[in-house]
């Protein structure tokens, strides 16, 4: 029997008050995610239970009980307080998936500051726009990533502290400070900042169609959504060994790689090493992982690695498998059922929604390729794209929209309330994704409603890549679109015109790829660059991305009446 039991019954009767009661939260009272995920579990007598089993490069392993993560997060919180970090100050976590990242999230939340996790592969430009927008006061990082922060430090007057968690003794520069969790005196008791439901907790950045990345502001009340969805959507149970493969630089990695398992008092595992099928299967076997939350890109890479390799490992511990980031193709669902004896269940949410919104449930009939059904306590519909009214007939494609009111809904975009307000129409939150709903109420993903590229589950703004491309000395103009990819669903493709004096070549192609990789991130790096003499434009000079995209996807080009020189 799954945690959720009968979905239809739950959907009819559930209200968020149930989550409040289960978590002993009284409206108006103190609610602090850091405390809920560590001290509360210890107070319930489970302090000696393993909370985190971490494995790094070369098989190095570290284990933390709930008492350990309580003390470690206290220690980090006390250190930050000692530096003068105040409630609601932004503290960026710019690290690989090392223990300090996970423990740092709790430490920051315990003192009422706002955690700003950023993907450690970001280049200095990507890092700068996010730290500048958030007016971040401190960055916690590793020595290997510190040089990227140093490059932009002079442009960040608000950034007071660059905290290095693995400092090697070399002289530190202005504003730099070393912090070693292992060498610090553990702090047994920390005064938890009395955050309330609407106190800000985390700031996650996401890409927009135009303009700079948007800082999605979440609050401590999100805990209720993350708690319920971890239980009912991911079917996380008390005795599970849970593995969320996502990086906490992205929302899945905090909602379900930190908060979800720990508020439930579950043991979770983290593998901080690059991907290989063998390493992943070995990790599951070694830790007897029971509940595995991953992504379609990884699942397709495992499929590519073949089935022979699976026979080398005992994966019989696996009980529940889920996936997030982009639509999970039916082949992957069927394949996982065949090779693991369990199907990967697709889940759907966004940085803005903070928790799973539409999903397949353990025990419910699965239709491979479907997104599943709305989570209890949420109302999801598909809207007509012109009237913004819900489609009344099944099978019609429209915009996925959600009725605001679930606890983990974003509260605003940081310093960008205007863009936040534009996300709502007729009282619905517009996700920007398109889908249809079948007669049985299952949602079927169709695609994005804008030019945003979803590559391996990560959103990339074509505008940001185009802006970076024209900073390369050889590039005159650029247009960036998605192109299909068997592993990542979509990858970035750039069309580029060159300035006079430059000619297309394989070396220039590679040089531009690396330029973007280092400036923005490996995700934003065009996997293909097509040099062209001209880009399709409207008569008013606007580049028509949709024409280039349609060609890449083998689709109809559509209306070209505004095309220049047509």
């Amino acid at each position: 029997m799954s945690n959720i039991g009968n979905y239809e019954e739950r959907y009819k009767t559930f209200t968020w008050e149930q989550a409040e009661r289960e978590l002993n939260y009284r409206p108006g009272g103190v609610l602090n995610i850091g405390w809920y995920c560590s001290d509360r579990i210890c107070d319930s007598g489970k302090g000696d239970k393993p909370a985190l089993i971490w494995e790094g490069m070369g098989g190095i392993e570290k284990r933390f009980t709930y008492h350990d993560i309580r003390r470690a997060s206290n220690t980090i919180g006390a250190f930050l307080r000692g530096l003068g970090i105040q409630p609601e100050d932004r503290v960026c976590l710019f690290m690989d998936k090392i223990p300090e990242l996970y423990l740092g999230v709790l430490g920051i939340l315990k003192i009422g500051a706002i955690g700003q996790p950023l993907y450690s592969a970001f280049g200095d430009e990507s890092l700068f726009v996010r730290l500048d927008n958030a007016q971040t006061k401190a960055v916690i990082t590793q020595k290997k990533h510190a040089p990227k922060v140093r490059k932009i430090l002079d442009k960040l007057p608000h950034l007071q502290h660059l905290i290095i968690v693995d400092h090697d003794g070399k002289p530190l520069k202005d504003r730099e400070i070393a912090f070693s969790l292992e060498k610090s005196e553990p702090v047994e008791k920390l005064e938890i900042h009395p955050t309330l439901a609407e106190s800000p907790s985390l700031l996650h950045y996401t890409s927009g169609t135009t303009g700079l990345p948007k800082g999605v502001k979440h609050v401590h009340y999100s805990l209720l959504s993350q708690y319920m969805t971890a239980r009912w959507a991911l079917d996380v149970r008390e005795d599970d060994i849970f593995w969320c493969t996502a990086d906490p630089g992205w929302v899945t990695g905090t909602s379900y790689g930190v908060i979800g398992p720990w508020v439930l008092g579950v043991t979770q595992c983290v593998l901080d090493a690059g991907f290989s099928a063998e390493a992943w299967y070995r990790f599951i076997e070694k830790n007897r992982i029971t509940n595995w939350y991953s992504a379609p890109t990884a699942i397709r890479s495992l499929m590519k690695a073949g089935e022979e390799i699976i026979k080398k490992f005992d994966l019989s511990s696996l009980r529940a498998l889920s996936s997030v980031g982009e639509p999970l193709n039916p082949e992957a669902v069927i394949w996982s059922e065949r090779v693991f004896g369990k199907a990967f269940l697709d889940t759907y949410f966004q940085t803005e929604t903070g928790s799973i919104m539409i999903t397949n449930y353990q025990g419910m009939k699965i239709k491979p390729g479907s997104m599943g059904k709305p989570f209890p306590g949420t109302t999801a519909v598909v809207l007509d794209q012109k009237t913004f009214e819900p489609h009344k007939e099944s099978g019609k494609i429209g915009l996925i929209a959600l009725k605001p009111g679930w606890p983990a809904m974003m509260r605003t975009y940081w310093n960008n309330e205007e863009t936040y307000q534009k996300k709502f129409k007729n009282g619905w939150y517009i996700t920007g994704d398109r889908a249809s709903i079948d007669k049985e109420g299952y949602f079927w993903f169709v695609g994005r409603d804008d030019d945003i590229i979803n590559t391996g589950g990560h959103l990339v703004s074509p505008f940001v890549v185009e802006s970076a491309l024209i900073e390369h000395p050889a590039v005159a103009e650029s247009a960036v679109v998605s192109k299909p990819d068997p592993i990542n669903m979509e990858v970035v493709k750039a069309f580029v015109t060159l300035k006079a004096g430059f000619t297309p070549s394989a070396d220039l192609d590679l040089e531009i790829m690396n330029f973007i990789r280092k400036k923005l991130s490996p995700l934003a790096m065009p996997q293909e660059i097509e040099f062209t003499d001209a880009l399709p434009k409207t008569r008013s000079g606007k580049i028509m991305r949709r024409i280039l995209k349609a060609k890449e996807w083998g689709e109809e080009i559509g209306d070209t009446s505004t095309l220049e020189n047509d």
Binding site: K144, H145, S276, G456, R517
Partner: protein, 83 residues
């Protein structure tokens, strides 16, 4: 020739994928499983090898395992330069 190739690849990986003050890597340092080169960046590394050695590496052979160290990359490149 093989050692020269390995030196070239090592130099390229160091210059492109490591920060200035990072610890030096060797021919057998794990690149993919060690988190130095991620799966997206593998595309630019593959492009470098193809440009430099005038070869074409099929996508199904450009696996994380085949790119996991300079030693392994050299084996892969040799396979296609000899073909």
């Amino acid at each position: 020739m093989a050692d020269e190739m390995k030196e070239t690849v090592l130099k390229y990986v160091t210059a492109e994928y490591l920060e200035d003050d990072a610890d030096p890597i060797t021919f057998d340092t794990p690149l993919i499983s060690g988190g130095i080169v991620d799966s997206f960046s593998m595309v630019s590394l593959k492009r470098f090898l193809e440009n430099k050695y005038k070869i074409s590496i099929p996508d199904d052979q450009a696996t994380p395992e085949a790119f996991d160290s300079v030693d392994k990359i050299a084996l892969l490149v040799r396979k296609f330069t000899l073909a």
